[in-house]
Amino acid sequence: MKIAVSADGADLEASVAQKFGTSEYLLVIDSDSGDFEAIANPGASGQRGAGVQAVVLAISKGVKTVLTGWCSPAVRNQLTANGIEVISELSGTVGELVEKYRKGDLRKQVEAEVAPAAGGRRIDRAALLQAAKSAARQFASLLPILIGVVLLIGLFNAFISEELLASIWSGSPVLDTLWGACFGSILAGNPINSYVIGGELLKYGVSLFAVTAFIITWVTVGLVQLPAEIAALGKKFALVRNAISFVLFTAVAALTVVILNLITG
């Protein structure tokens, strides 16, 4: 059976890490054979979604039990919902803990932890609180860039005239769509920023063709993150995906506006 232990180092002598989601390594140990694999925790950087990444890693490795110092209620819920038992509040080296687990010494603790969780309603309230907390975190993380974008648009409004913009955008649906797609492919980030920029450009008389192509390629085509995509998924995959996305989503943008015009007259 496979056990995952959050660890500060890459071997069995390492101490168990305090946080499951953001530990440096996850050691996946086969309790029968004693073989182990040390995997750099994708959530170690501590950015948003770190816990989820560690959960997916544990699931994909076929882990049945997680041993850790501490685990957030949300991550614990996700692990248990996927049939993974969680034993927390642990300390010591990875090797010692696995040995204790094998002997059944950690079992009693699990039973003690599971018992009070049986009262239904309380968990719902905890889940609501957790959801509110992560919503607040998500929201806070998109605010700085959004504020920057809004302030920059203010500057833009103060300096750029409609005539200047009109000289960049030709008014031809084909060219405008292409230009919009080019800008959207180069820029990247949270989609909310593309909506705000696109919405403000519309007020300047930039065509909806250009704005739609800009919005849709903002996420689907990413020149800025291309090196990261190549590193993760291979050159061929990344280049083919971005090239096809550029062509197809540019067409999708044009089609969206044509259909909208047909519907709204």
């Binding site: 948003r48 996927n82 700085p144 302030l151 909506y195 909208l260």
Partner: protein, 186 residues
Amino acid sequence: MTLLKKERPQSSAWKNPTVRGLLFPALVLVAYGILFAIMPDKASVGLKSSANIALSMLLPLGLVFILMLVLNLFLKPAQIVKFFGREAGIKGVILSAAAGIISAGPIYAWYPLLKDLREKGAANTFLAIFLGNRAVKPFLLPIMISYFGWIYVLILTVFTVLGSIVVGYFVGALARVESSLPSRSR
């Protein structure tokens, strides 16, 4: 053991997202500071215009927060992601599209997972569908509707999902060489 050596440099290069996130607004503020010193009239026009935009976004942003909360409560990306690498056919398409739509956070956080899923045998088609569908963000719909109207948003959303699936199949067919044998047998 090989995994960890390859992944470390990449994740450390994108460490500290908070600092990166604050750099851009800080630069814009510096630009405002300079402008207030040399052209105070233009700077105050810019600031007023920004304030108007921010005011018009207050209500939709409130809705965004509520939607985020509700989606966090009911959707669990981890549960969906674990399936989409394995299920074939229409089920795989639906799961990978759904995972893309509900996935949160910057794309860089997801690459290591996608890489791992691919090594486990996830088909290129599904990985591309996941990436394309990240453009659809249900909790941001209030902002989008406030700018463009619901008919436009509805058409664009439906087309983005369908377009992502088409892109997925193209990528699956054209990037086949890189897709290792296990992905075809799964």
